[in-house]
C-alpha cells in the first residue's frame, strides 16, 4: 500500500572500524572534505577543519571493485560533486554534502585517471570529465550524465595513456591536454570550445606526438606558478620540461633506489616528489628551470648527465605506525584561495590519513613534521560513548575491553529473530527488535542482566563464517533447520527451536565460504540439500534429510565465485575466479571442464536459474 512511511537505515558500526585500504585520495576544491576510496570499493568522506583536524563523516557503498580514481565533477561552489571510478568499469557521481549517488554507469574499460574540465559550448560552460585508462585514447565524458561523448585519439603509435595534465592557457583561448603514453611518447591535443552537436562526431586527433623517452611514467603536472614548466615523474627518475617545446630542463634521480610514485610543483622553484614507501622529498630546481631567471633554458640540448641537478631541500617522512600491506597513495593539493593551504595528503592501507602542511617552506629546513595523522580506528576509539555493536552487551569477554566480534548473521523476519555467529564459534539467537532497542533507546531494559533473552548454540570450534535459514529461501525446507559453516571446515545443522545440534558435516578441506539453496525444480534428492562452498575450492551437496553428503566436487584449481544450476539436466555449474567453468552432474558426480574461452557465452546461452547474485567478471 502506498503510504507516507519513510524507511531510514541506521548503522550499528561496533567498536572495530571497517578496514579501509586506501587506493585513491582527493581534496575538494573548498578544502573542507577529504575523499578516500579503498580497495573494497567503499568511499570515505572526512571533514577537514581550518586547523587541519580530520574526522571521518560517512562511508559510501556502491562500487563492487576497488576504486581506481577520484575527481571533482562540478565547477560551481554551491554543489560539491565528485566522480569515482572502479576496477570493473563502474563510474559513480556523488554529492559530497549528503553522500547521495546521483548518477551511475558501467563501461567496459578501467579508468586510471579522471580530470574535470569545463568546455565552452556556445554561450555556456559545460562540465566534462577527461578519462584515461586501459585503452588507447582519452575519453571525454559528460560530467552530469556520465555519457561518453567523444574521444581524443592519436594517429602515431596509439597506446594506453599513463598520465595526463590539462594546461590552461591564460593568454590564448586554447587549452592543451598533454598526456604521456605507456611507451614514453608525449601527446598533445588542443581543446577549446566544443561545437554544440559535436557529440557524435569524429574523434579529435593529436596536434603533436613527441617521444620523450620516459619509461614507467607515474604522473605529469603542469606548473601553475610559472605557467611554463612540466614535471614528469617516472619510477626511477623525474624530469622537468619546458611546456613550450617539451625540451628537457632538469633531471632528478631516485633516492636510495626507492621507487617514485608521483610528484607536483609546490612553488615556482620547488617540486615535491613522493616514493612508494610513503616518503616525500622537496627539491629546489636550478635556475635553468625558472622562466624568471636569466639562465633559463641554458641546459637545453645537453645530455641528461650534464644537466645541473636539483638540490634536495626537505624530507617528509611518515612515522611508522602500522605495517602497510600495499604502497600508500600520496597527492599534493594546492588551493589558490587565500585561506587554503598547500597540503600533502597521504592515505595508506591501515585506513590512516597523514597530512603535511607545506604552505611555508623556509629556505633552511631539513625535515617537515606531519601536521595531522588519524586512522579510521583512532577516530572510532575517540568516540564517547563507543559505537555500539548489535549484541555487545551479550559479548563481553572477561579481561578485555573489546566485545566478541560478530562474524556472520542472518535475519529471520518470520520469527522476528536475529541469528549472529561469532569469532569464538558460538551462535546467538536474539529477538531482533528488542536487541535493536537496547542499542538505540534508553530505558528500563538497560538495568536488566542478560537482556535481551537469548539462546546460545555452541558447536563450532572457531569463527563462524556463514549462516543460512533455508526455509526463508524456499518453503520446501523444514522450518526447524538452521545451517552454519565455520573456519573449522564443518557445516552444522541446528534445530532453531530446541537449540539441538542435529548433525555435523565434515566433508570439506577448507573454511566454509558460502551456503546456498538449490532452485525449486531440482531432482527430489537435491531438493532437500543445501550447497556448501569451501576455501579449498570444493563444492558439496549436503542432504538435510539423509544427513549425508551426496556430492563433493573438489577438483577446482581456483576459488569458486559463482554457482549456477540447470535442474532439467541435473547440472551444477561452477564458475571460478580465473574464468574457467566446470559442469558437474549432480547424480553421478562426473564433470566436464569448459575453459575460459567460452565462459561468458556459455553462462549466457544456457539459461540457468541464478542462485547467487554476483556474476563472473
Amino acid at each position: 500500500m502506498a503510504g507516507n512511511s519513510l524507511v531510514l537505515p541506521i548503522v550499528l558500526w561496533g567498536r572495530k572500524a571497517p578496514t579501509h585500504c586506501i587506493s585513491a585520495v582527493l581534496l575538494t576544491d573548498d578544502g573542507t572534505t577529504i575523499v578516500t576510496g579503498c580497495h573494497d570499493g567503499q568511499i570515505c568522506l572526512w571533514d577537514l577543519s581550518v586547523e587541519l583536524e580530520v574526522n571521518p563523516r560517512a562511508l559510501l557503498f556502491g562500487h563492487t571493485a576497488s576504486i581506481t580514481c577520484l575527481s571533482k565533477a562540478c565547477a560551481s561552489s554551491d554543489k560539491q560533486y565528485i566522480v569515482s571510478a572502479s576496477e570493473s568499469g563502474e563510474m559513480c557521481l556523488w554529492d559530497v554534502n549528503d553522500g547521495r549517488c546521483i548518477e551511475f554507469t558501467k563501461l567496459a574499460c578501467t579508468h586510471t585517471g579522471i580530470q574535470f574540465y569545463q568546455f565552452s559550448v556556445g554561450n555556456q560552460r559545460e562540465g566534462r570529465l577527461l578519462c584515461h585508462g586501459h585503452y588507447p585514447e582519452i575519453l571525454v565524458v559528460d560530467a552530469t550524465s556520465l555519457e561518453v561523448l567523444y574521444s581524443l585519439v592519436s594517429k602515431i603509435s596509439p597506446d594506453w595513456i599513463s598520465s595526463m595534465s590539462i594546461i590552461r592557457s591564460h593568454r590564448t583561448q586554447e587549452d592543451t591536454v598533454v598526456a604521456l603514453s605507456v611507451t614514453g611518447i608525449l601527446k598533445v591535443w588542443i581543446v577549446t570550445s566544443e561545437i554544440s552537436g559535436m557529440q557524435d562526431t569524429e574523434p579529435i586527433f593529436e596536434e603533436e606526438s613527441k617521444p620523450i623517452y620516459c619509461q614507467n611514467c607515474q604522473s605529469i603536472s603542469f606548473c601553475a606558478f610559472t605557467q611554463r614548466s612540466l614535471l614528469v615523474v617516472c619510477s626511477k627518475y623525474w624530469r622537468v620540461f619546458d611546456a613550450g617545446d617539451y625540451s628537457l630542463l632538469c633531471s632528478g634521480p631516485s633516492e636510495n633506489g626507492q621507487t617514485w610514485t608521483g610528484g607536483d610543483f609546490v612553488s615556482a622553484d620547488k617540486v615535491i616528489i613522493w616514493t612508494e614507501n610513503g616518503q616525500s622529498y622537496i627539491y629546489k630546481l636550478p635556475a635553468s628551470c625558472l622562466p624568471a631567471s636569466d639562465s633559463f633554458r641554458s641546459d637545453v640540448g645537453k645530455a641528461v648527465e650534464n644537466l645541473i641537478p636539483p638540490v634536495q631541500h626537505s624530507l617528509l617522512d611518515r612515522a611508522d605506525k602500522e605495517l602497510l600491506i600495499c604502497p600508500p597513495v600520496t597527492r599534493f593539493f594546492c588551493g589558490f584561495k587565500e585561506h587554503l593551504h598547500k597540503l600533502l595528503i597521504q592515505g595508506d592501507s591501515s585506513g590512516r590519513l597523514n597530512i603535511w602542511n607545506v604552505s611555508d617552506t623556509p629556505d633552511k629546513q631539513e625535515e617537515l613534521k606531519m601536521t595531522t595523522s588519524i586512522s579510521l580506528q583512532e577516530a572510532f576509539d575517540k568516540l564517547n560513548p563507543c559505537p555500539a555493536g548489535i549484541i555487545d552487551q551479550l559479548s563481553v569477554i572477561p579481561n578485555s575491553n573489546e566485545p566478541l566480534k560478530v562474524t556472520a548473521s542472518v535475519y529471520i523476519p518470520a520469527h522476528g529473530r536475529l541469528v549472529c555467529g561469532r569469532e569464538d564459534g558460538s551462535i546467538i539467537i536474539v529477538p531482533a527488535t528488542q536487541t535493536a532497542i537496547v542499542q538505540l533507546l534508553q530505558g528500563e531494559h538497560m538495568l536488566r542482566r542478560g537482556w535481551p533473552p537469548h539462546r546460545t548454540l555452541r558447536g563450532h570450534r572457531n569463527k563462524v563464517t556463514c549462516l543460512l535459514y533455508p526455509h526463508q529461501v524456499s518453503a520446501r525446507y523444514d522450518q526447524r533447520y538452521l545451517i552454519s559453516g565455520g573456519v573449522d571446515f564443518s557445516v552444522i545443522i541446528w534445530d532453531i527451536f530446541s537449540g539441538e545440534m542435529k548433525h555435523i558435516f565434515c566433508v570439506h578441506g577448507g573454511e566454509i565460504t558460502q551456503l546456498l539453496v538449490p532452485p525449486e525444480n531440482c531432482s527430489a534428492r537435491v531438493q532437500h540439500c543445501i550447497c556448501s562452498v569451501a576455501s579449498d575450492h570444493s563444492v558439496g551437496l549436503l542432504s538435510l534429510r539423509e544427513k549425508k553428503c551426496i556430492m563433493l566436487a573438489s577438483r577446482h584449481l581456483f576459488p569458486i565465485q559463482v554457482i549456477k544450476w540447470r535442474p532439467s539436466d541435473d547440472y551444477l555449474v561452477v564458475g571460478c575466479s580465473d574464468g574457467s567453468v566446470y559442469v558437474w552432474q549432480m547424480d553421478t558426480g562426473k564433470n566436464k571442464l569448459f575453459s575460459s574461452l567460452s565462459t561468458k557465452n556459455y553462462l549466457n546461452v544456457l539459461s540457468f536459474a541464478v542462485t547467487v547474485p554476483n556474476t563472473l567478471g
Binding site: 619509461q215 605495517l323 600491506i325 580465473d578
Partner: protein, 310 residues
C-alpha cells in the same frame, strides 16, 4: 628497524649452526617460536621469493612473445613481420594471407570466390595502411603491468606480513586475467559497427557494398570473417529485426545501414593459429596457477593470524 623477538630467536639459532632434524623442534620451542610460526616464517622469507622469481622469469618470456614495434627508447627497430595463411579446411571460398607486425596487421591479402558465379575477387590493404589489433596491445600492456608490480619485489625486499603477499598476488593475477581475457574475448560488434569500422575502408580495390570484413583474435587464433549481404526488398514479408552485437554473426542476421535494410546471406570464417600467442596463453595459465597456489599456502595460516608481522 630493530628485529622482533621472533627474528632475533631465529638469527641466534642460525648462528649456532643448527641443522635440520629431530632436534629442530626442541630448539624452536626453546627459542620461543611454535612450529607454525617457523613454517610461516620459512614461507614468507624463502618460498615467496622462490615463487616470485619463477613468476618473473615466466612473465619475461611471455612479454618477449609480444615484440614491440616502437618502445620510445630511441631505437625504433621495427617488429618482425609474420605472414599467416588463413584458410578453412571445409571450403576454399575465402583465403587470406595476413601479415602481422607486432600488434598490427600491415597487410591483408584476401581472395574471395563468390558462390553464385565463381567470380574470384581479390582485395588487399592500401599502401602503408595498418590495422591495429587492440586485443594484442592490451594483452601486452597488462603483462607489462604485471611485470612492473613484481619489479621491486626481489630477494632484497622483506615481506612483513602474509596479507602483503596476498595483496601483491591479487594485483598480479588481476593483470594476468585481464591479459588473457583480452585474447579470449573478442569484442561483440553489431553489424552497423562492423560496417562503420575503419577496416572496411582500408582495402584496394574498395570492398563492394555487399561485403563486410572483420578481423579479430580469438584465443590463440587470428580470425578473418567475411559477411556477404543482400538487400531486403521494401515489400518483403520477412519480419525485420535488427541483430544485436556478436563476435560472429550468423546468416539471416539483419541490420539497417544508411537507407537500406540488409541481411547476411553467407558467412565465411577463416583462421590461423599464431604460435607465439599460444605460448603466451600457456604462460598466463601457468603464472595464474603459481599465484593461486602461493595464495592458498599463505591462506592456510590466516586462521592463526593475518596481520602479525614477521
Amino acid at each position: 628497524m630493530a628485529a622482533t623477538a621472533a627474528e632475533r630467536a631465529v638469527l641466534v639459532r642460525r648462528a649456532g649452526g643448527a641443522g635440520r632434524g629431530g632436534g629442530r623442534r626442541a630448539r624452536a620451542l626453546t627459542a620461543g617460536l611454535s612450529w607454525q610460526e617457523e613454517e610461516f616464517r620459512w614461507l614468507l622469507h624463502d618460498e615467496v621469493h622462490a615463487v616470485l622469481r619463477q613468476l618473473q622469469d615466466i612473465l619475461k618470456e611471455a612479454s618477449l612473445r609480444f615484440t614491440l614495434s616502437c618502445s620510445g627508447t630511441g631505437t625504433e627497430a621495427p617488429a618482425k613481420q609474420e605472414n599467416f595463411i588463413l584458410g578453412s579446411c571445409s571450403t576454399d571460398q575465402v583465403k587470406g594471407v595476413l601479415t602481422l607486425q607486432g600488434d598490427a596487421l600491415s597487410q591483408a591479402d584476401v581472395n574471395l570466390k563468390m558462390p553464385r558465379n565463381n567470380q574470384l575477387l581479390h582485395f588487399a590493404f592500401r599502401e602503408d595502411k595498418q590495422w591495429k589489433l587492440q586485443q594484442i596491445q592490451d594483452a601486452r600492456n597488462h603483462v607489462s603491468q604485471a611485470i612492473y608490480l613484481l619489479a621491486n619485489r626481489d630477494e632484497s625486499y622483506q615481506f612483513r606480513t602474509g596479507a602483503e603477499v596476498l595483496k601483491l598476488m591479487d594485483a598480479v593475477m588481476l593483470q594476468l586475467t585481464r591479459a588473457r581475457n583480452r585474447l579470449t574475448t573478442p569484442a561483440t560488434l553489431t553489424l552497423p559497427e562492423i560496417a562503420a569500422s575503419g577496416l572496411t575502408r582500408m582495402f584496394a580495390p574498395a570492398l563492394p557494398s555487399d561485403l563486410l570484413v572483420n578481423v579479430y583474435i580469438n584465443l590463440n587464433k587470428l580470425c578473418l570473417t567475411v559477411y556477404q549481404l543482400h538487400a531486403l526488398q521494401p515489400n518483403s514479408t520477412k519480419n525485420f529485426r535488427p541483430a544485436g552485437g556478436a563476435v560472429l554473426h550468423s546468416p539471416g542476421a539483419m541490420f539497417e545501414w544508411g537507407s537500406q535494410r540488409l541481411e547476411v546471406s553467407h558467412v565465411h570464417k577463416v583462421e590461423c593459429v599464431i604460435p607465439w600467442l599460444n605460448d603466451a596463453l600457456v604462460f598466463f595459465t601457468v603464472s595464474l596457477q603459481l599465484c593461486q597456489q602461493l595464495k592458498d599456502k599463505i591462506s592456510v595460516f590466516s586462521s592463526y593470524w593475518s596481520y602479525r608481522p614477521f
